[in-house]
């Protein structure tokens, strides 16, 4: 009980400067960019602690990351990786726009690469025909594979996040089997397809050795996604369903069809990335080579960090490209294992996921 004879609280007209500063700080902390940027900063700090714990200098290590990624000599390679990560970010972002998670990027990527390897390697057609055909074929096969998850969700109630995650290893294993035992190069120590004929390789961009026309294809896909997202009826429906599924259903959006379309587009985007990787140097499908660089999860992290917004994906993808490319350089020059970049990606995703959970808790509490 606090019945006191104390005079009442000071007047509202003259809030102490401290209060105003606190209020400004509070408003600044609620800015939507705070959590994503905070996640990145936190990840870098945790990374620094890990490096310190290993008895190494975090500043040297991070400097090696930046230098390895942005060194003018390696920019060609960095750009090609940025393209792949952007492409895989699209595969995650399109369903994310309607609130669904596509965790099956690996399977979609491998099926696309496989399709491209088969078409480009065996179709006796001239380059101008076979190259687009291989890209398109990859898009169709991976799109169809991605599409499987939509009816599983609408008809049988299996969440897309689950079915994509569980179907993906199946596709990866099928790809692995075919490369090892059916379409592999005989007599090779590594499980890989024969090199593609000259005419069936992705067109080069000038004398760059890594970035090629595939990068332009991916940039074009991002522009199309941006246009569809901001000014098409389908993009509007995606955003409505992502913001409030019940609102969409009430308004007459066919949520099931939308999910089908989103998963086809996501699968197709991943498939095209797979095709571009196979048709780039070293011009063959090597077992495991599509998955081991981790483009899928770097892309997923970039999409999450961008909140699925098409205009932000190129920017967030830069971050993960630097980690990815620079991670290898860091291993060489600072003796820090490249797995550290996986740790940093993981921390970013955990912080963002935590934000989602906390937001949900808060809105449940306020509506209770």
């Amino acid at each position: 009980m606090s019945t006191t004879e104390r005079p009442p609280v000071p007047s509202a007209d003259a809030p102490p400067a401290r209060h105003r500063a606190a209020r400004l700080l509070g408003a600044a902390l609620r800015h939507p960019a705070v959590v994503p940027i905070g996640a990145v900063v936190l990840a870098l700090l945790i990374g620094a602690v890990i490096i310190l714990a290993a008895g190494l200098n975090p500043i040297t290590a991070y400097a090696a990351v930046i230098d390895g990624a942005l060194n003018p000599d390696s920019l060609d390679y960095t750009f090609s990786v940025w393209g792949f990560i952007c492409g895989m970010a699209l595969a995650a972002a399109i369903p994310l726009r309607m609130g669904e998670f596509n965790l099956g990027g690996n399977g979609q990527l491998v099926l696309g690469g496989l399709t491209a390897a088969v078409i480009a390697g065996y179709a006796p057609l001239p380059g101008p025909i076979v190259i687009p055909l291989a890209v398109l074929g990859a898009a169709v096969v991976s799109g169809a594979f991605g599409a499987l998850s939509a009816p599983l969700a609408t008809r049988f109630g299996i969440p897309i996040i689950i079915s994509t995650l569980l179907l993906s290893p199946v596709a990866v294993a099928v790809g692995s089997y075919l490369v090892r035992f059916q379409i592999g190069e005989s007599g090779s120590a590594v499980a890989q397809t024969p090199r593609l004929p000259e005419g069936a390789r992705m067109w080069a961009l000038g004398d760059l050795s890594y970035s090629n026309v595939g990068l332009l294809i991916i940039i074009a896909m991002m522009v199309v996604f941006w246009l569809v997202d901001t000014r098409s009826a389908v993009g509007y429906e995606l955003r409505v369903v992502g913001a409030n599924r019940r609102f969409g259903a009430y308004g007459g959006v066919r949520v099931g069809r939308l999910a089908l379309g989103a998963m086809v587009a996501a699968g197709a985007a991943a498939g095209i990335v797979g095709a571009i990787i196979v048709m780039s140097s070293p011009y063959r499908l090597i077992d495991g080579a599509l998955i081991s660089p981790g483009y899928t999860f770097a892309g997923l992290a970039a999409a999450l960090l961008a909140g699925g917004r098409p205009a932000l994906i190129p920017v967030t993808a830069i971050l993960f490209t630097v980690l990815q490319v620079g991670g290898a350089a860091m291993e060489r020059s600072a003796d820090v294992p490249r797995q550290l970049s996986d740790v940093l990606q993981g921390v970013v995703i955990v912080v963002l996921a935590l934000r989602t959970v906390l937001d949900q808790r808060r809105s449940e509490r306020s509506s209770a």
């Binding site: 606090s2 609280v9 000071p10 098409s232 259903a249 066919r254 509506s367």
Partner: protein
């Protein structure tokens, strides 16, 4: 109850209370005097500052300026526990009870009678009986709260406050969830408590309730006191004027003209949740003709919402048919029903009627995004939207419907409830669909805006629209409906033509044919052998 003040200080005095949230002034120099043994109504529109004021009185918020005195002594509450210790009790609009525990356990929670360190159940039950007898609050101490009706739960909340020896009771919108007969018995309890020397504050925006139960009225508008009245000498017009700052015309359905052909017909419609084994609606049949408003009355949760959802198509019908303009749409998707000519103002504005994170413009576009002027149905622009047309249409609707917003790009979630409702209504009415379902269309809307919404619904009717109006406000149904259907436990239990619909008749039917006051279970009062803990 207005005479005996005498020498003692008033029970509560609020002097010059001020509170602001950022740039918004919620309360500004509010004075309020609550005399002991009186019932004081605090009224005002949404956002007038009633709840902020009561939250400060109950210690949930701290005032920025001003002083609170209880029994003549200045107090400073740092939390509700301080307020409870000073003799205040608050019954919130949304009940704060443990559903799985008994009435007695809920009542004594926080101040339990103990025996050897453990809860003394017998003493708790005796205490509940004693309090219920003294105040005429019928309840059974051993009933499990989860099985009780809204009215019975509210009685438990009041008992909770009385158990803590609250001499000053704050009731926040206490009638929102009650049937008319429950409202009557609540008012009797309030009267009895005041006669017994307690001070009761009732926060409400319903004028007839203020006139019926209070001794004194304080009206707030925009955070300031705009009127103080002794109820005995106040009129409804005076109160409305103080609340809104202007005269309000009462809108009334002329009930003229003959309805046209049947636009919506529902035959033997049932909705059953097989998993939970619950029948939400049971063989409901109704028709709505062009140029007719059919009202659906009932206490919330008696199947009205499922009826609307099944007609819209967001939940499947288990049996029966829904016909829209003569076409059987029972198994058609929502989009086709809407395309045929159906618009719906939903009850759950935040959960179903809007996407709170999206802008006003985007919210008002849903359903209009594939047709002119925003979209195109043919040609090269098919499937694309004109953002310019979207914005200009949104600006037009904001102006026509007087939505208070900083612009069409403002997120709808940051608007007040009444303004967000106007956005939803603008979107649905602008479909100009032959059939409109309006579910609680004025829920959370100010008196002034209610009038304009009612006016628009009557215009819609005059223009040949068929309206199914679901409402928990009997006065709204009496003002607008040509016919009133009453739903109880998933069935239509009464149909009253406009002329024969009265508050008493609708109220009797709402309470159920068997005089139960609970939709879920019989009232434990009628069943003294009820569940034992």
């Amino acid at each position: 109850m207005t005479s005996e003040t005498g020498t003692a200080a008033p029970a509560v005095e609020l002097i010059g209370i001020g509170k602001r949230f950022g740039a918004v002034v919620a309360n500004d120099g509010v004075d309020l005097v609550l005399r002991r043994g009186s019932v004081h109504a605090v009224m005002g529109e949404n956002g007038a500052g009633k709840s902020t004021l009561m939250s400060m009185l109950f210690g949930l918020l701290e005032p920025d300026a001003g002083e609170i005195r209880v029994d003549g002594k200045t107090v400073r509450f740092t939390g509700p526990l301080d307020a409870i210790a000073a003799g205040l009790g608050m019954v919130h609009q949304h009940f704060r009870l443990f559903d799985s525990m008994t009435v007695a356990e809920n009542v004594v929670y926080g101040a339990e009678p103990r025996r050897r360190g453990r809860l003394d159940r017998a003493a708790a039950a005796a205490r509940v009986r004693e309090l219920s007898d003294r105040y005429g609050l019928e309840t059974s101490p051993d009933a499990v709260v989860g099985t009780l009706s809204a009215g019975a739960r509210q009685r438990v909340e009041i008992l909770k406050a009385l158990h803590r020896e609250a001499r000053i009771l704050i009731l926040d919108e206490p009638t929102a969830v009650l049937t008319p007969s429950e409202v009557d018995s609540l008012f009797a309890v309030i009267r009895r408590a005041a006669d017994d020397g307690s001070t009761v504050v009732i926060v409400t925006h319903k004028i007839h309730e203020v006139l019926a139960v209070s001794d004194e009225v304080t009206v707030l508008r925009d955070g300031r006191v705009t009127g103080r009245f002794a109820t005995a000498s106040a009129t409804g017009e005076q109160l409305v004027h103080a609340m809104t700052g202007r005269e309000i015309e009462v809108v009334q359905n002329p009930r003229s003209g003959t309805p046209g052909e049947v636009a919506l017909s529902v035959e033997d419609l049932s909705v059953t949740d097989a998993g939970a084994g619950v029948t939400h609606i049971d063989a409901v049949s109704l028709t709505v003709r062009r140029g007719e408003i059919v009202g659906v009355a009932g206490v919330s949760g008696n199947g009205q919402h499922e009826l609307v959802a099944a007609v819209l198509g967001t939940i499947p019908a288990t049996a029966g048919t829904v016909r829209l303009l003569g076409e059987d749409v029972t198994v058609r998707p929502v989009r086709e029903r809407r395309a045929l000519g159906l618009a719906v103002i939903p009850e759950d504005r935040r959960g179903e009627g809007s996407a709170v994170t999206m802008s006003v413009a985007e919210n008002v576009t849903l359903g209009h995004h594939r047709s002119a002027p925003i979209g195109a149905t043919r040609g090269i622009r098919r499937g694309w939207m004109s953002l310019r047309a979207e914005r200009s249409r949104a600006r037009d609707l904001i102006r026509d419907y007087d939505v208070r917003t900083s612009g069409e790009q403002q997120p709808i979630g940051s608007l007040s409830g009444g303004n967000a409702q106007k956005v939803v209504i603008a979107r649905e009415l602008s479909h100009e669909a032959p059939v409109l379902i309006a579910e609680q269309p004025t829920q959370g809307v100010d008196v002034g805006a209610i009038e304009s919404i009612h006016g628009r619904l009557l215009e819609y009717r005059a223009g040949g629209g068929a309206i199914l109006l679901v409402s928990h406000e009997i006065s709204e149904l009496l003002a607008l409906a040509d016919r009133v259907l009453v739903m109880y436990a998933g069935r239509i239990v009464a149909e009253l033509a406009g002329a024969e619909a009265t508050t008493a008749r609708i109220g009797a039917a709402m309470a159920g044919a068997a005089a139960h006051d609970a939709p879920a279970a019989p009232d434990p009062v009628l069943d003294p052998e009820g569940p034992r803990a």
